[in-house]
């Protein structure tokens, strides 16, 4: 379709909005209410332009021609038009610089500023405010409004995480639309009307996992992140773009740091992964890195105490001890969000130490690498989705991308100026195609609200369900737990007939290799692609590069049960488990790489300060098989180092340095394994899905537990840090022990009561949450990194009520 913007002719696809035509022509027009990935609504009236189009004669079907020029005559709309809600037409002429347009834009700036306080000097958005910028660019600089401005609440705390300044709100409706259109949680709305309109919620707090995004998208300083409020000014921040290590999506984020402290996290655009959204754990779960309790120097045991030492001293000490060990006696364990570089470093160290006792954790028995992997954009355009497990807590972004699919609008085509500013296919309150989504889980999961079919099955019946569904897919008779025959048949039929069917499963299925194989077989039987939700940011990558024991008898659990004489462990706290703690005490050498002191550092011979995920440089592989860059923000972490540095120091102290350093070895290994240059990754990552290794037979000999009275469930919160994330803690509260009211009554428990419980060796405390949607007899316990998801047998007699603080 041909259009002309400010004299420039363009050829654009039908359906393009006039505002995108303007930007495609390299011109600019101010806007406040339009936002990438949300419906254009035309509420701010800022994007005005003079627009006209030729017209066809009804009778002849020919263009009405201009008598003088003989060209099609342009019929101008009588008023300036909002370009964001106007679709282009053949021959349309758009003038953003015409006198009428300029005058209208100036008028709108003046109008918008009538009630907007001019408190930019004390506003956190100052310097990064769309209104400030647009007022400079398009405003007249004067106001004819001589009266008092509207006064409203300046500090309305919407939640522990977000504050609303009602005077600053310009009623663009972005925040309201976000909640309805993106996560589908309608928790905000305009209250009242006209000049009295304000934003509010009548629910308690903002019940959604994605609330923080409204602080990014508010064009003014009305919605502010409470973790960063009144700290830095926007121009003082160092902005580091990186991939989040909070979960397996690898969502793009910006780290805003200042004077060595991390002070804010915002979402960054990755059109393939998280679009412009992140969940609240990813955004607000960072405060721990600034904690004064961080370990900042290496520590070495002197009697009962740990004393500060240099990296060199401790490396020599470690090397001395290690040199005395025989083959296979040392063990190395990384947390599953370590980078590929750290993974290779661990492998190289293991090789030098001649041990096969190497693992990453948390990790399930079965592989997290799917056979036929779907990308997140595949998911967003899927027409049949079957989820078994809890997506929203495992990887919240997957939850959002499923909701994209329900809208039935495929990811947009990019313009040179980026994501369409106004995608006219998106509407407010679109009808969601719930029928394409079936969700099954052992308890009521959040995504069920959005599903056409939801099924709660008995915990640990994943294998049986997949097998029964496979039978149905193969035309045999079978019955599926928690589903009627019609439902099961309809599900299989839908997946079979879909063009882009996707099956999503998580740790519940991976806890049993047989269930994982059954899942894969079912996906094959119905021709569906798979998404497997790994428990941590680099679960996929560390498995892909085989940071795995040479034999399953040297896995994490076995190491903790005493299979090794020396252990180097990074960012895990196995000694929170009293049984493991006993074994760890027996070790000849325990080296703990950690950010904070904990039960394990208390037993360590050497403690090494670890970098957080915001301070590392490296590469991860997300759940799609996408290699993403992790970049370091300038945060003052003392002498903290990543595992690569740790391994290199030990290798150096052992005198076993090779010709090449670990970094270049890792760089080469990544190229060899994934076929990409890790120093030149695409900013949106490089998709390199792998096949799962076929040699996982050994694992099959291990029986997974198939009995239990408690289920370790995924949680989007990083519970290991929650105590040091004060805002997130205040909003989300302590870890919850969730159970049915029958169980609560039987144990004399009340809602919100604080209890302690021995969870398979780990003493933990919880606040009781009673939910009748949880099957009776099953207690739900949110996972720690030291406890992979799945069923376990709990000693319920260990339950103790904690004394109420007086």
């Amino acid at each position: 379709m041909k259009v002309k913007v400010n004299g420039i002719e363009l050829e654009l696809a039908p359906g393009t909005s006039a505002i995108d035509a303007v930007f495609a022509a390299g011109s600019d027009v101010p806007y406040f209410c339009s936002h990438e990935y949300m419906s254009p609504v035309g509420s701010c009236r800022m994007c005005l332009a003079k627009i006209g189009a030729p017209r066809k004669d009804r009778a002849t079907g020919n263009w009405v021609l201009d008598e003088e020029t003989g060209e099609p005559q342009i019929f101008w709309f009588p008023n300036p038009m909002a370009t964001c809600t106007t679709a282009i037409m053949e021959g349309m002429v758009i003038e953003t610089e015409a006198e009428e347009a300029v005058k209208a834009q100036r008028g709108m700036v003046e109008m918008t500023l009538i009630n907007h306080p001019l408190d930019c000097p004390i506003c956190d958005k100052g310097g990064a405010c769309e209104l400030q910028d647009r007022a400079y660019e398009y405003g007249e600089g004067i106001s004819r409004f001589e009266f008092d401005k509207r006064h409203q609440e300046k500090h309305h705390q919407l939640s522990e995480l977000i504050t609303l300044d009602r005077e600053r709100c310009i009623h663009c409706k972005r925040c309201i639309r976000f909640f309805e259109e993106v996560p589908g949680d309608e928790v905000l709305d305009f209250i009242e009307r006209g000049g009295h309109t304000y934003i509010a919620t009548v629910e308690e707090g903002l019940e959604s996992n994605f609330t923080g995004n409204i602080t990014d998208l508010c064009p003014v300083g009305a919605l502010l992140d409470r973790t960063s409020r009144f700290k830095g000014r926007n121009w003082e921040y160092e902005h580091t773009i990186t991939s989040s290590l909070d979960d397996a999506s690898g969502s793009a984020i910006v780290l805003d740091s200042r004077t060595g402290r991390l002070e804010r996290i915002k979402a960054e655009l990755n059109t393939q992964v998280n679009k412009l959204w992140i969940d609240d754990s990813t955004r607000f779960g960072y405060e721990y890195v600034n904690s004064s309790e961080r370990i900042k120097t290496p520590l070495i045991r002197k009697g009962d105490n740990l004393e500060a030492a240099s990296w060199q001293e401790v490396s020599e000490f470690i090397a001395d001890k290690l040199a005395k060990l025989a083959q296979k006696e040392a063990a190395i364990v990384l947390r599953a969000d370590s980078t590929l570089e750290e993974g290779y470093a661990a492998k190289n160290l293991a090789k030098i130490l001649e041990t096969g006792q190497i693992d990453h954790y948390p990790r399930q028995l079965a592989s997290v690498i799917p056979n036929n992997s779907a990308s997140l954009n595949d998911l967003a355009s899927s027409d049949a989705i079957f989820v078994i497990g809890d997506v929203s807590q495992n990887v919240p972004i997957v939850d959002l991308r499923i909701k994209d699919a329900l809208k039935g609008v495929a990811p947009p085509e990019m313009f040179e100026h980026g994501v369409p500013i106004a995608d006219l296919r998106l509407k407010e309150r679109m009808i969601r195609k719930k029928e394409i989504l079936t969700v099954a889980a052992p308890y009521n999961v959040d995504l069920m609200r959005h599903a056409g079919q939801a099924h709660i099955y008995e915990a640990n019946s994943e294998e049986a369900i997949f097998k029964a569904l496979t039978k149905i897919a193969n035309g045999e008779d079978s019955s599926v737990a928690a589903m009627s025959n019609e439902q099961a048949e309809a599900l299989v039929k839908r997946l079979n007939e879909a063009n882009n069917a996707i099956i999503i499963y998580d740790g519940f299925s991976l806890a049993s290799p047989a269930a994982a194989i059954a899942a894969r077989n079912f996906a094959n039987a119905v021709g569906a692609k798979e998404i497997i939700l790994g428990q941590m940011a680099n679960s996929y990558g560390l498995e892909a590069i085989q940071v795995l024991p040479s034999h399953e008898r040297y896995g994490y659990a076995e190491i903790m049960q005493g299979s090794a004489k020396a252990l180097i462990i990074s960012e895990l706290n196995p000694a929170n488990n009293s049984q493991y703690a006993q074994n760890l005490k027996e070790l000849e050498l325990l080296v703990v790489h950690s950010i904070f002191e904990n039960e394990t550092t208390a037993l360590a011979d050497v403690v090494l300060p670890a970098k957080s995920g915001y301070e590392k440089q490296g590469t991860i592989v997300n759940l799609e098989g996408r290699l993403l860059e992790v970049n370091a923000a300038p945060i003052d972490a003392g002498q903290a180092q990543d595992f690569e540095f740790l391994a290199a120091s030990i290798i150096a102290a052992l005198g076993k340095e090779g010709k090449e350093d670990l970094a270049s070895l890792a760089h080469k290994a990544i190229r060899k394994q994934f076929g990409v240059d890790s120093k030149k990754l695409d900013p949106e990552g490089d998709l390199k899905p792998l096949k799962p290794r076929a040699n996982n037979k050994a694992k099959l000999h291990i029986q997974s537990t198939n009995i239990g009275n408690a289920l370790i469930v995924p949680t989007m919160l990083r519970l290991e840090y929650i105590d040091k994330n004060p805002h997130l803690l205040a909003e989300r509260g302590a870890a919850k022990l969730t159970m049915n009211s029958i169980d609560a009554d039987a144990n004399g428990l009340k809602n919100a009561e604080i209890v302690s419980l021995d969870v398979a060796g780990i003493k933990r405390s919880f606040s009781v949450q009673i939910k009748d949607s949880v099957p009776a007899g099953l207690w739900l316990i949110p996972a720690l990194p030291e406890q992979a998801i799945g069923l376990l047998e709990l000693d319920r007699a260990s339950l103790k009520k904690e004394l109420e603080p007086a």
């Binding site: 949680d185 309608e186 928790v187 905000l188 709305d189 209250i191 009242e192 009307r193 919620t201 009548v202």
Partner: protein
């Protein structure tokens, strides 16, 4: 905490409820928020938080969304309005024709300010925006009736008559007061069939 003693409004009005819901197609059930609010407001002279929640649950939307719609209209109330709900148009035409003075007079006379209800529940005073009857400014709306071209004398007269619980009917001369549009008939279910 929900007060369980108060019965759900629609609990004993299932016929009304299904009649209202049937007017809208499946995907548009949330549009029923208006008639549901209206039903509650008419019966209880206000829509309490409890009722907001009830309507939200019926429609499967959030209470915030119901409140958003409700608060848009000055015809729904959070607190019960008095037996006589006096609404003074204060938009331009009426304002030019003297509605501000009329407000002052009523406020004085009834000892109420905008938005208040007296403690006996007799009178509520409320400024509202344009009532769509600018040609007959200034306009008072008392409950559902319009009183038009209201001068000082007449205003006093109306107050007196309400005090005696004998509010007179709107005038009909000079094409003056009218009872609004003819009462809308409830939409026939059959008429809607083709729509969905």
């Amino acid at each position: 905490m929900m007060d369980t003693k108060i019965q759900a409004f629609f609990a004993d009005k299932q016929d009304l409820l299904s009649e209202i819901l049937e007017r809208y197609p499946d995907y548009g059930q949330r549009s029923a928020v208006m008639p549901l609010l209206r039903a509650v407001q008419d019966a209880e002279r206000h829509v309490s938080e409890l009722r907001i929640k009830e309507i939200a649950d019926i429609l499967g939307i959030s209470a915030t969304a119901v409140k958003g719609v409700m608060s848009f209209y000055s015809t729904y109330h959070e607190q019960p309005v008095g037996k006589y709900h006096i609404q003074i148009c204060s938009t331009l035409s009426c304002s030019l024709a003297g509605s501000d003075e009329m407000y002052d007079y009523l406020a004085n006379e009834l000892d109420l300010v905008n938005g208040e209800t007296d403690k006996d529940g007799q009178f509520s005073l409320q400024k509202v925006e344009c009532l769509g009857s600018c040609t007959t400014a200034p306009v008072l709306q008392i409950n559902d009736d319009y009183y038009e071209n209201v001068g000082k004398k007449r205003c006093k007269h109306l107050v007196d008559s309400m005090r005696e619980n004998k509010l007179e009917k709107p005038w009909r001369e000079r094409k003056g007061d009218h009872e609004g549009a003819e009462k809308a008939k409830p939409l026939q279910k059959t008429a809607l069939k083709g729509v969905s």
